[in-house]
Protein backbone atom coordinates (compact mmCIF):
# COMPACT_ATOMS: atom_id res chain seq x y z
CA UNK A 1 0.00 0.00 0.00
CA UNK A 2 1.27 3.48 -0.86
CA UNK A 3 2.03 5.62 2.20
CA UNK A 4 -0.51 8.39 2.84
CA UNK A 5 1.07 11.65 1.74
CA UNK A 6 0.84 14.95 3.56
CA UNK A 7 -1.30 17.61 1.90
CA UNK A 8 0.09 20.96 0.80
CA UNK A 9 -3.28 22.71 0.60
CA UNK A 10 -4.08 24.06 4.05
CA UNK A 11 -0.48 24.85 5.01
CA UNK A 12 0.36 28.35 6.18
CA UNK A 13 3.30 30.29 4.73
CA UNK A 14 5.44 29.32 7.74
CA UNK A 15 4.59 25.68 7.23
CA UNK A 16 5.43 25.98 3.53
CA UNK A 17 8.80 27.51 4.49
CA UNK A 18 9.35 24.42 6.64
CA UNK A 19 8.40 22.17 3.70
CA UNK A 20 10.94 23.98 1.50
CA UNK A 21 13.64 23.80 4.17
CA UNK A 22 13.01 20.08 4.75
CA UNK A 23 13.41 19.41 1.03
CA UNK A 24 16.55 21.58 0.79
CA UNK A 25 14.83 24.13 -1.45
CA UNK A 26 15.38 27.89 -1.33
CA UNK A 27 13.10 29.78 1.06
CA UNK A 28 11.37 31.68 -1.75
CA UNK A 29 9.90 28.39 -2.99
CA UNK A 30 7.41 28.73 -0.11
CA UNK A 31 6.03 31.94 -1.63
CA UNK A 32 5.74 30.26 -5.03
CA UNK A 33 3.92 27.32 -3.44
CA UNK A 34 1.49 29.63 -1.62
CA UNK A 35 0.82 31.37 -4.91
CA UNK A 36 -0.04 28.12 -6.67
CA UNK A 37 -2.09 26.81 -3.77
CA UNK A 38 -4.15 29.86 -2.95
CA UNK A 39 -4.10 32.26 -5.90
CA UNK A 40 -4.34 30.00 -8.92
CA UNK A 41 -6.91 27.42 -9.93
CA UNK A 42 -4.75 24.35 -10.41
CA UNK A 43 -5.26 20.91 -8.88
CA UNK A 44 -1.86 19.16 -8.93
CA UNK A 45 1.77 19.72 -8.05
CA UNK A 46 2.64 18.90 -11.66
CA UNK A 47 0.90 22.08 -12.83
CA UNK A 48 3.24 24.33 -10.80
CA UNK A 49 5.01 25.40 -13.96
CA UNK A 50 7.52 27.85 -12.46
CA UNK A 51 9.07 25.07 -10.38
CA UNK A 52 11.62 22.83 -12.04
CA UNK A 53 10.65 19.26 -12.86
CA UNK A 54 13.13 18.07 -10.19
CA UNK A 55 11.50 20.22 -7.51
CA UNK A 56 8.04 19.02 -8.53
CA UNK A 57 9.24 15.41 -8.31
CA UNK A 58 10.73 16.05 -4.87
CA UNK A 59 7.43 17.54 -3.71
CA UNK A 60 5.33 14.76 -5.23
CA UNK A 61 7.33 12.10 -3.38
CA UNK A 62 6.11 13.42 -0.04
CA UNK A 63 3.04 15.53 -0.71
CA UNK A 64 -0.29 15.63 -2.48
CA UNK A 65 -1.78 18.90 -3.68
CA UNK A 66 -4.72 18.41 -1.35
CA UNK A 67 -7.90 19.89 -2.80
CA UNK A 68 -11.02 17.73 -3.03
CA UNK A 69 -14.03 18.27 -5.27
CA UNK A 70 -17.53 18.00 -3.81
CA UNK A 71 -19.07 14.54 -4.02
CA UNK A 72 -22.58 15.85 -4.46
CA UNK A 73 -24.44 19.11 -4.88
CA UNK A 74 -28.09 19.99 -4.44
CA UNK A 75 -29.58 23.17 -5.83
CA UNK A 76 -32.55 24.89 -4.26
CA UNK A 77 -35.20 26.70 -6.25
CA UNK A 78 -33.99 29.91 -4.57
CA UNK A 79 -30.42 29.43 -5.85
CA UNK A 80 -28.96 28.17 -2.58
CA UNK A 81 -26.69 25.17 -3.01
CA UNK A 82 -25.67 22.45 -0.59
CA UNK A 83 -22.35 20.82 -1.32
CA UNK A 84 -21.41 17.51 0.24
CA UNK A 85 -17.72 16.70 0.67
CA UNK A 86 -16.37 13.30 1.62
CA UNK A 87 -13.76 13.25 4.34
CA UNK A 88 -12.00 10.48 6.25
CA UNK A 89 -13.66 7.11 6.03
CA UNK A 90 -17.02 7.69 4.33
CA UNK A 91 -17.82 10.68 6.48
CA UNK A 92 -19.66 13.61 5.03
CA UNK A 93 -19.53 17.31 5.66
CA UNK A 94 -21.86 19.98 4.35
CA UNK A 95 -21.15 23.38 2.86
CA UNK A 96 -23.90 25.83 1.90
CA UNK A 97 -23.59 28.51 -0.78
CA UNK A 98 -26.16 31.27 -0.34
CA UNK A 99 -26.45 33.84 -3.13
CA UNK A 100 -27.97 37.20 -2.35
CA UNK A 101 -28.29 40.27 -4.62
CA UNK A 102 -24.63 41.26 -4.73
CA UNK A 103 -23.21 38.76 -2.28
CA UNK A 104 -22.22 35.13 -2.21
CA UNK A 105 -21.97 33.74 1.28
CA UNK A 106 -20.44 30.36 1.97
CA UNK A 107 -21.29 28.56 5.19
CA UNK A 108 -18.51 26.14 6.12
CA UNK A 109 -18.31 23.20 8.52
CA UNK A 110 -15.52 23.02 11.09
CA UNK A 111 -15.95 19.47 12.45
CA UNK A 112 -17.37 16.14 11.34
CA UNK A 113 -20.39 15.84 13.61
CA UNK A 114 -20.30 17.69 16.92
CA UNK A 115 -19.90 17.03 20.66
CA UNK A 116 -22.17 19.77 21.91
CA UNK A 117 -25.52 17.95 21.75
CA UNK A 118 -27.87 20.90 21.17
CA UNK A 119 -31.47 19.67 21.29
CA UNK A 120 -32.55 21.41 18.07
CA UNK A 121 -29.61 20.33 15.90
CA UNK A 122 -29.33 17.54 13.36
CA UNK A 123 -25.53 17.53 13.40
CA UNK A 124 -25.66 16.73 17.12
CA UNK A 125 -27.34 13.44 16.30
CA UNK A 126 -24.22 12.29 14.43
CA UNK A 127 -22.12 12.58 17.59
CA UNK A 128 -18.50 13.66 17.19
CA UNK A 129 -16.63 11.94 14.41
CA UNK A 130 -13.54 14.06 13.94
CA UNK A 131 -11.91 17.42 13.42
CA UNK A 132 -11.53 19.08 10.05
CA UNK A 133 -8.08 20.34 9.10
CA UNK A 134 -7.54 23.94 7.98
CA UNK A 135 -7.14 22.57 4.45
CA UNK A 136 -10.49 20.78 4.63
CA UNK A 137 -12.14 23.98 5.87
CA UNK A 138 -10.63 26.22 3.15
CA UNK A 139 -11.29 23.54 0.52
CA UNK A 140 -15.03 24.05 1.15
CA UNK A 141 -14.61 27.54 -0.31
CA UNK A 142 -11.96 26.82 -2.91
CA UNK A 143 -13.60 23.75 -4.47
CA UNK A 144 -17.15 24.95 -5.09
CA UNK A 145 -18.38 26.32 -8.42
CA UNK A 146 -18.65 29.85 -7.03
CA UNK A 147 -15.09 29.91 -5.57
CA UNK A 148 -14.02 32.95 -7.55
CA UNK A 149 -16.92 35.14 -6.44
CA UNK A 150 -17.29 34.34 -2.74
CA UNK A 151 -17.81 37.57 -0.81
CA UNK A 152 -18.54 36.38 2.73
CA UNK A 153 -17.70 33.34 4.81
CA UNK A 154 -19.57 32.15 7.88
CA UNK A 155 -18.43 29.32 10.12
CA UNK A 156 -21.94 28.14 10.89
CA UNK A 157 -22.01 24.68 9.32
CA UNK A 158 -21.47 21.39 11.09
CA UNK A 159 -19.51 21.45 14.33
CA UNK A 160 -18.45 23.93 16.97
CA UNK A 161 -15.57 26.05 15.59
CA UNK A 162 -14.15 26.80 19.05
CA UNK A 163 -13.81 23.08 19.72
CA UNK A 164 -11.38 22.97 16.79
CA UNK A 165 -9.81 26.38 17.28
CA UNK A 166 -6.26 25.68 16.06
CA UNK A 167 -7.47 24.60 12.63
CA UNK A 168 -10.14 27.30 12.46
CA UNK A 169 -7.55 30.03 13.21
CA UNK A 170 -5.21 28.53 10.65
CA UNK A 171 -7.96 28.54 8.04
CA UNK A 172 -8.68 32.21 8.80
CA UNK A 173 -4.96 32.97 8.43
CA UNK A 174 -4.96 31.36 4.97
CA UNK A 175 -8.12 33.21 3.95
CA UNK A 176 -6.95 36.64 5.14
CA UNK A 177 -3.19 36.72 4.53
CA UNK A 178 -1.65 38.53 1.59
CA UNK A 179 0.09 35.28 0.60
CA UNK A 180 -3.28 33.47 0.87
CA UNK A 181 -6.66 34.62 -0.36
CA UNK A 182 -6.20 38.18 0.87
CA UNK A 183 -9.78 38.49 2.13
CA UNK A 184 -10.74 41.08 4.69
CA UNK A 185 -11.37 39.46 8.09
CA UNK A 186 -14.46 41.68 8.21
CA UNK A 187 -16.01 39.36 5.64
CA UNK A 188 -15.65 36.37 7.93
CA UNK A 189 -17.93 35.49 10.84
CA UNK A 190 -17.30 32.63 13.23
CA UNK A 191 -20.32 31.36 15.11
CA UNK A 192 -20.00 29.59 18.44
CA UNK A 193 -22.12 28.43 21.32
CA UNK A 194 -19.60 30.18 23.57
CA UNK A 195 -16.68 28.09 24.79
CA UNK A 196 -15.20 30.87 26.87
CA UNK A 197 -11.42 30.18 26.93
CA UNK A 198 -11.35 29.43 23.19
CA UNK A 199 -13.48 32.50 22.50
CA UNK A 200 -10.92 34.67 24.29
CA UNK A 201 -8.13 33.23 22.16
CA UNK A 202 -10.15 33.71 18.97
CA UNK A 203 -10.77 37.36 19.83
CA UNK A 204 -7.10 37.86 20.61
CA UNK A 205 -5.64 36.05 17.61
CA UNK A 206 -8.02 36.97 14.78
CA UNK A 207 -10.00 39.96 13.58
CA UNK A 208 -13.01 38.10 12.24
CA UNK A 209 -16.51 38.83 13.50
CA UNK A 210 -18.04 36.79 16.30
CA UNK A 211 -21.57 35.38 16.43
CA UNK A 212 -22.85 33.70 19.58
CA UNK A 213 -25.71 31.20 19.58
CA UNK A 214 -27.83 32.50 22.42
CA UNK A 215 -31.34 31.04 21.87
CA UNK A 216 -32.61 31.93 25.35
CA UNK A 217 -31.34 34.23 28.08
CA UNK A 218 -32.63 31.97 30.87
CA UNK A 219 -30.24 29.55 32.54
CA UNK A 220 -32.56 26.58 33.13
CA UNK A 221 -34.14 26.86 29.70
CA UNK A 222 -30.79 27.16 27.94
CA UNK A 223 -29.60 24.06 29.78
CA UNK A 224 -32.48 22.06 28.33
CA UNK A 225 -31.66 23.31 24.82
CA UNK A 226 -27.87 23.42 25.00
CA UNK A 227 -25.90 21.27 27.47
CA UNK A 228 -22.91 23.66 27.10
CA UNK A 229 -24.80 26.01 29.43
CA UNK A 230 -23.58 23.93 32.38
CA UNK A 231 -19.91 24.35 31.46
CA UNK A 232 -20.06 27.91 30.10
CA UNK A 233 -23.25 29.73 31.16
CA UNK A 234 -24.38 32.46 28.77
CA UNK A 235 -23.87 35.04 31.54
CA UNK A 236 -20.15 34.12 31.62
CA UNK A 237 -19.96 34.29 27.81
CA UNK A 238 -21.50 37.77 27.81
CA UNK A 239 -19.25 38.88 30.67
CA UNK A 240 -16.25 37.85 28.56
CA UNK A 241 -17.61 39.70 25.53
CA UNK A 242 -17.91 42.87 27.60
CA UNK A 243 -14.12 42.84 27.98
CA UNK A 244 -13.69 43.44 24.25
CA UNK A 245 -14.27 46.48 22.10
CA UNK A 246 -16.95 46.00 19.45
CA UNK A 247 -17.58 49.69 18.82
CA UNK A 248 -15.22 49.74 15.80
CA UNK A 249 -15.35 47.60 12.70
CA UNK A 250 -15.38 44.28 14.46
CA UNK A 251 -18.88 43.03 15.16
CA UNK A 252 -20.48 40.73 17.66
CA UNK A 253 -23.93 39.36 16.97
CA UNK A 254 -26.23 36.93 18.73
CA UNK A 255 -28.07 34.15 16.92
CA UNK A 256 -31.52 33.38 18.25
CA UNK A 257 -33.58 30.50 16.86
CA UNK A 258 -37.22 31.06 17.73
CA UNK A 259 -39.15 28.11 19.18
CA UNK A 260 -42.90 28.35 19.54
CA UNK A 261 -44.08 28.99 23.08
CA UNK A 262 -40.60 28.51 24.47
CA UNK A 263 -38.35 31.48 23.87
CA UNK A 264 -40.62 33.88 21.94
CA UNK A 265 -42.32 35.81 24.75
CA UNK A 266 -42.02 39.40 26.02
CA UNK A 267 -40.34 38.05 29.14
CA UNK A 268 -37.54 36.84 26.88
CA UNK A 269 -37.33 40.24 25.20
CA UNK A 270 -36.98 41.91 28.58
CA UNK A 271 -34.31 39.51 29.80
CA UNK A 272 -32.38 39.73 26.51
CA UNK A 273 -32.27 43.48 26.77
CA UNK A 274 -31.03 43.19 30.36
CA UNK A 275 -28.37 40.60 29.46
CA UNK A 276 -27.02 42.51 26.46
CA UNK A 277 -27.36 45.97 27.95
CA UNK A 278 -24.46 48.18 26.92
CA UNK A 279 -23.00 45.83 24.28
CA UNK A 280 -22.98 47.17 20.73
CA UNK A 281 -24.42 44.16 18.95
CA UNK A 282 -27.22 42.87 16.80
CA UNK A 283 -29.56 39.92 17.15
CA UNK A 284 -30.29 37.66 14.19
CA UNK A 285 -33.58 35.87 14.60
CA UNK A 286 -33.68 32.52 12.83
CA UNK A 287 -36.71 30.50 11.82
CA UNK A 288 -36.45 26.93 13.06
CA UNK A 289 -36.25 24.27 10.35
CA UNK A 290 -37.69 21.15 11.97
CA UNK A 291 -35.35 18.20 12.41
CA UNK A 292 -36.62 14.64 12.91
CA UNK A 293 -37.38 13.62 16.47
CA UNK A 294 -37.12 17.09 17.95
CA UNK A 295 -40.16 18.33 19.86
CA UNK A 296 -39.68 21.94 18.82
CA UNK A 297 -41.50 24.00 16.21
CA UNK A 298 -41.19 27.47 14.77
CA UNK A 299 -43.66 30.19 15.83
CA UNK A 300 -45.86 31.84 13.18
CA UNK A 301 -44.67 34.85 11.17
CA UNK A 302 -46.71 37.27 13.26
CA UNK A 303 -45.00 36.17 16.49
CA UNK A 304 -41.59 36.38 14.83
CA UNK A 305 -42.23 39.93 13.62
CA UNK A 306 -43.63 40.99 16.98
CA UNK A 307 -40.58 39.58 18.75
CA UNK A 308 -38.29 41.41 16.36
CA UNK A 309 -40.15 44.71 16.80
CA UNK A 310 -40.08 44.42 20.58
CA UNK A 311 -36.29 43.95 20.53
CA UNK A 312 -35.82 46.85 18.15
CA UNK A 313 -37.98 49.00 20.46
CA UNK A 314 -35.60 48.09 23.28
CA UNK A 315 -32.76 49.49 21.19
CA UNK A 316 -31.23 46.17 20.11
CA UNK A 317 -30.82 46.11 16.35
CA UNK A 318 -32.64 42.93 15.33
CA UNK A 319 -33.33 41.32 11.98
CA UNK A 320 -34.92 38.08 10.84
CA UNK A 321 -32.69 35.89 8.74
CA UNK A 322 -34.30 34.84 5.47
CA UNK A 323 -34.94 31.10 5.23
CA UNK A 324 -33.00 29.71 2.33
CA UNK A 325 -32.79 26.35 0.66
CA UNK A 326 -35.86 24.92 2.40
CA UNK A 327 -36.37 22.35 -0.35
CA UNK A 328 -32.83 20.93 0.00
CA UNK A 329 -32.60 19.92 3.64
CA UNK A 330 -32.03 23.43 4.93
CA UNK A 331 -31.23 22.43 8.52
CA UNK A 332 -27.52 21.83 8.77
CA UNK A 333 -26.61 18.17 9.22
CA UNK A 334 -29.72 16.78 7.53
CA UNK A 335 -28.13 16.13 4.17
CA UNK A 336 -24.93 14.54 5.50
CA UNK A 337 -26.90 12.36 7.94
CA UNK A 338 -29.12 11.20 5.09
CA UNK A 339 -26.05 10.41 2.97
CA UNK A 340 -24.33 8.62 5.85
CA UNK A 341 -27.40 6.51 6.56
CA UNK A 342 -27.89 5.56 2.92
CA UNK A 343 -24.22 4.54 2.73
CA UNK A 344 -24.63 2.40 5.84
CA UNK A 345 -27.53 0.61 4.19
CA UNK A 346 -25.47 -0.40 1.15
Amino acid sequence: MEPIKELLFGKTLNELIQVSTDLGLPKFTAGQLADWLYKKQIGSIDEMSNLSRKVRELLTEKYDFGTVLPAKVQVSTDGTKKYLFVTGKHQFIETAMIPDDDRITVCVSSQIGCKMGCLFCMTAKQGFQGQLSAGEIVNQIRSIDEAASVSNIVYMGMGEPFDNLDEVLKSIEILTSEWGYGMSPRRITVSSIGIVPAMGRFLRESEAHLAISLHTPFDEQRKSLMPVQIAYPIAEVVEEIRKWDFTGQRRVSFEYILFKGLNDTSIHVKELSRLLNGIKCRINLIRFHPVPGTPLVSPDEETILHFKNQLNDKGIFTSVRASRGQDIYAACGLLSTKEQNSNLKI
Binding site: C114, K115, M116, G117, L119, A124, K125, G127, F128, D163, P197, A198, G200, R201, L203, R204, K223, S224, P227, V228, I230, A231, P233, E240, R242, K243, W244, D245, G248, G293, T294, P295
Partner: protein
Protein backbone atom coordinates in the same frame (compact mmCIF):
# COMPACT_ATOMS: atom_id res chain seq x y z
CA UNK B 1 -9.06 45.30 20.91
CA UNK B 2 -9.12 43.80 24.34
CA UNK B 3 -10.28 46.21 27.02
CA UNK B 4 -9.08 44.34 30.08
CA UNK B 5 -6.57 41.64 30.85
CA UNK B 6 -8.08 38.38 29.68
CA UNK B 7 -5.50 35.82 30.68
CA UNK B 8 -7.27 35.01 33.91
CA UNK B 9 -9.41 32.05 34.68
CA UNK B 10 -9.78 32.93 38.34
CA UNK B 11 -7.74 29.96 39.45
CA UNK B 12 -5.90 29.44 42.67
CA UNK B 13 -3.13 27.00 43.51
CA UNK B 14 -3.82 23.95 45.68
CA UNK B 15 -1.67 21.00 46.70
CA UNK B 16 -3.00 17.61 45.84
CA UNK B 17 -3.57 15.15 48.65
CA UNK B 18 -4.25 11.98 46.69
CA UNK B 19 -4.17 10.47 43.21
CA UNK B 20 -5.42 6.90 43.09
CA UNK B 21 -5.67 4.79 39.94
CA UNK B 22 -8.96 3.00 40.58
CA UNK B 23 -9.10 1.27 37.20
CA UNK B 24 -6.60 1.20 34.31
CA UNK B 25 -5.99 4.84 33.32
CA UNK B 26 -8.78 6.13 35.54
CA UNK B 27 -7.90 8.20 38.59
CA UNK B 28 -9.55 9.78 41.61
CA UNK B 29 -7.65 13.01 42.16
CA UNK B 30 -8.07 14.95 45.42
CA UNK B 31 -7.09 18.07 47.33
CA UNK B 32 -8.26 19.57 50.60
CA UNK B 33 -11.78 20.97 50.47
CA UNK B 34 -12.17 24.60 51.50
CA UNK B 35 -15.72 25.91 51.64
CA UNK B 36 -18.93 24.40 50.42
CA UNK B 37 -20.29 23.23 47.09
CA UNK B 38 -23.45 21.63 45.69
CA UNK B 39 -23.26 18.08 44.40
CA UNK B 40 -23.36 18.18 40.60
CA UNK B 41 -21.10 21.22 40.37
CA UNK B 42 -17.99 21.31 38.22
CA UNK B 43 -14.56 22.79 38.69
CA UNK B 44 -11.88 24.06 36.32
CA UNK B 45 -8.43 22.53 36.65
CA UNK B 46 -5.07 23.18 35.02
CA UNK B 47 -1.50 22.17 35.80
CA UNK B 48 -0.19 25.39 34.25
CA UNK B 49 -1.96 28.72 34.92
CA UNK B 50 -1.07 29.91 31.40
CA UNK B 51 -2.94 27.03 29.79
CA UNK B 52 -6.74 27.04 29.48
CA UNK B 53 -8.17 24.83 32.21
CA UNK B 54 -10.29 21.73 31.63
CA UNK B 55 -13.61 21.13 33.39
CA UNK B 56 -14.33 18.23 35.79
CA UNK B 57 -17.36 17.19 37.79
CA UNK B 58 -16.77 16.97 41.51
CA UNK B 59 -17.20 13.36 42.59
CA UNK B 60 -16.74 13.72 46.36
CA UNK B 61 -19.49 14.31 48.93
CA UNK B 62 -20.31 17.64 50.55
CA UNK B 63 -18.96 16.48 53.91
CA UNK B 64 -15.84 14.75 52.65
CA UNK B 65 -12.57 16.20 53.83
CA UNK B 66 -11.22 16.33 50.29
CA UNK B 67 -12.60 17.63 47.04
CA UNK B 68 -12.15 14.93 44.39
CA UNK B 69 -12.62 14.48 40.68
CA UNK B 70 -12.69 11.30 38.63
CA UNK B 71 -10.86 11.43 35.31
CA UNK B 72 -9.66 9.11 32.61
CA UNK B 73 -6.43 9.72 30.71
CA UNK B 74 -6.95 10.94 27.14
CA UNK B 75 -3.95 9.75 25.11
CA UNK B 76 -2.34 12.81 23.55
CA UNK B 77 -4.39 15.05 25.81
CA UNK B 78 -3.01 18.26 27.22
CA UNK B 79 -3.92 17.86 30.87
CA UNK B 80 -4.92 14.33 31.86
CA UNK B 81 -1.55 12.63 31.13
CA UNK B 82 0.06 15.28 33.40
CA UNK B 83 -2.52 14.80 36.15
CA UNK B 84 -2.00 11.04 36.03
CA UNK B 85 1.70 11.50 36.89
CA UNK B 86 1.11 13.76 39.89
CA UNK B 87 1.79 12.85 43.50
CA UNK B 88 0.55 14.22 46.82
CA UNK B 89 2.18 17.60 47.44
CA UNK B 90 2.22 18.59 43.74
CA UNK B 91 0.56 21.85 42.79
CA UNK B 92 -2.44 22.35 40.49
CA UNK B 93 -4.67 25.36 39.85
CA UNK B 94 -8.41 25.13 40.40
CA UNK B 95 -11.45 27.39 40.11
CA UNK B 96 -14.22 27.63 42.64
CA UNK B 97 -16.98 25.04 42.15
CA UNK B 98 -19.71 26.36 39.85
CA UNK B 99 -22.72 25.36 37.78
CA UNK B 100 -25.75 23.37 38.75
CA UNK B 101 -26.66 19.87 37.71
CA UNK B 102 -28.38 18.65 40.80
CA UNK B 103 -31.73 17.20 41.63
CA UNK B 104 -34.09 17.76 44.53
CA UNK B 105 -36.00 14.93 46.23
CA UNK B 106 -38.44 14.42 43.35
CA UNK B 107 -38.20 11.10 41.48
CA UNK B 108 -35.43 11.04 38.92
CA UNK B 109 -33.38 8.66 36.84
CA UNK B 110 -29.66 9.34 36.60
CA UNK B 111 -28.00 8.02 33.47
CA UNK B 112 -24.21 8.04 33.02
CA UNK B 113 -21.53 6.65 30.76
CA UNK B 114 -17.95 6.09 31.96
CA UNK B 115 -16.63 8.88 34.16
CA UNK B 116 -20.02 10.59 33.77
CA UNK B 117 -20.89 8.75 36.99
CA UNK B 118 -18.97 11.48 38.90
CA UNK B 119 -21.76 14.01 39.66
CA UNK B 120 -24.16 11.24 40.69
CA UNK B 121 -21.57 9.67 42.97
CA UNK B 122 -21.14 13.11 44.58
CA UNK B 123 -24.91 13.36 45.11
CA UNK B 124 -25.06 9.87 46.60
CA UNK B 125 -22.06 10.48 48.89
CA UNK B 126 -23.85 13.64 50.01
CA UNK B 127 -26.94 11.59 50.95
CA UNK B 128 -29.09 12.97 48.15
CA UNK B 129 -30.36 9.80 46.54
CA UNK B 130 -33.97 9.62 47.73
CA UNK B 131 -36.27 8.50 44.84
CA UNK B 132 -33.33 8.05 42.53
CA UNK B 133 -32.39 5.31 40.14
CA UNK B 134 -28.92 5.15 38.60
CA UNK B 135 -28.10 3.59 35.24
CA UNK B 136 -24.39 3.32 34.47
CA UNK B 137 -23.17 2.27 31.03
CA UNK B 138 -19.57 1.19 30.36
CA UNK B 139 -17.66 -0.93 27.87
CA UNK B 140 -15.99 -3.34 30.33
CA UNK B 141 -16.89 -4.46 33.85
CA UNK B 142 -13.81 -2.87 35.47
CA UNK B 143 -15.24 0.54 34.52
CA UNK B 144 -18.09 0.32 37.04
CA UNK B 145 -16.32 2.80 39.29
CA UNK B 146 -17.34 2.83 42.99
CA UNK B 147 -19.41 -0.30 42.31
CA UNK B 148 -19.26 -1.76 45.82
CA UNK B 149 -20.37 1.46 47.46
CA UNK B 150 -23.14 2.10 44.95
CA UNK B 151 -24.46 -1.45 45.21
CA UNK B 152 -24.64 -1.14 48.98
CA UNK B 153 -26.40 2.22 48.96
CA UNK B 154 -28.70 1.97 45.95
CA UNK B 155 -29.37 -1.76 45.86
CA UNK B 156 -31.86 -2.55 43.06
CA UNK B 157 -31.90 1.11 42.00
CA UNK B 158 -28.39 0.63 40.60
CA UNK B 159 -28.44 -0.72 37.05
CA UNK B 160 -25.25 -1.57 35.23
CA UNK B 161 -25.01 -1.93 31.45
CA UNK B 162 -21.86 -3.46 30.05
CA UNK B 163 -21.68 -3.18 26.26
CA UNK B 164 -18.55 -5.10 25.27
CA UNK B 165 -18.35 -7.97 27.73
CA UNK B 166 -20.95 -10.46 28.84
CA UNK B 167 -20.49 -10.72 32.60
CA UNK B 168 -23.60 -12.69 33.47
CA UNK B 169 -24.24 -10.20 36.28
CA UNK B 170 -24.81 -6.96 34.43
CA UNK B 171 -27.15 -6.07 31.59
CA UNK B 172 -25.27 -6.89 28.38
CA UNK B 173 -25.66 -4.00 25.94
CA UNK B 174 -25.74 -0.25 25.75
CA UNK B 175 -27.89 2.02 27.90
CA UNK B 176 -30.19 2.64 24.92
CA UNK B 177 -30.70 -1.14 24.53
CA UNK B 178 -31.63 -1.33 28.20
CA UNK B 179 -34.08 1.58 27.95
CA UNK B 180 -35.70 0.23 24.78
CA UNK B 181 -36.34 -3.06 26.57
CA UNK B 182 -38.14 -1.44 29.50
CA UNK B 183 -41.92 -1.98 29.56
CA UNK B 184 -42.57 1.14 31.51
CA UNK B 185 -40.77 4.44 31.58
CA UNK B 186 -42.04 7.16 33.86
CA UNK B 187 -43.04 10.30 32.00
CA UNK B 188 -43.21 12.25 35.23
CA UNK B 189 -39.65 11.56 36.41
CA UNK B 190 -36.80 13.89 35.69
CA UNK B 191 -33.87 12.47 33.76
CA UNK B 192 -30.28 13.54 34.26
CA UNK B 193 -27.80 12.40 31.63
CA UNK B 194 -24.06 12.74 31.96
CA UNK B 195 -21.07 11.67 29.87
CA UNK B 196 -20.31 11.23 26.18
CA UNK B 197 -22.14 13.36 23.60
CA UNK B 198 -23.52 10.52 21.51
CA UNK B 199 -24.99 8.69 24.51
CA UNK B 200 -26.62 11.88 25.72
CA UNK B 201 -28.13 12.66 22.32
CA UNK B 202 -29.33 9.10 21.69
CA UNK B 203 -30.83 8.66 25.15
CA UNK B 204 -32.46 12.09 25.00
CA UNK B 205 -34.06 11.27 21.63
CA UNK B 206 -35.23 7.92 22.94
CA UNK B 207 -36.78 9.43 26.07
CA UNK B 208 -38.55 12.06 23.97
CA UNK B 209 -39.83 9.33 21.63
CA UNK B 210 -41.18 7.50 24.67
CA UNK B 211 -43.13 10.57 25.72
CA UNK B 212 -40.85 12.24 28.29
CA UNK B 213 -41.15 16.05 27.94
CA UNK B 214 -37.75 17.47 26.96
CA UNK B 215 -37.99 20.03 29.76
CA UNK B 216 -37.60 17.13 32.21
CA UNK B 217 -34.33 16.01 30.64
CA UNK B 218 -31.09 17.61 31.84
CA UNK B 219 -27.81 16.80 30.16
CA UNK B 220 -24.15 17.37 30.96
CA UNK B 221 -21.78 16.50 28.13
CA UNK B 222 -18.07 15.85 28.68
CA UNK B 223 -16.91 17.50 25.47
Amino acid sequence: MQLTNLNKYELKPVLITGNEEISPNVFVFSWKREGIFSPGQVIKITADPNEPPRIYSICSGINDENLSVLFNVKPGGELTPKLAMMKPGDKIYVSAPYGSFSSDDSPATWIATGTGIAPFYSMIRSGRYKNKKLIHGVSYANQFYFEEFLEKVLDENYIRCCSRAETGVHFHGRITDYLIGLNKLSREDKYYLCGQALMVVEVRDLLIRKGVPYGQIYAEIYF
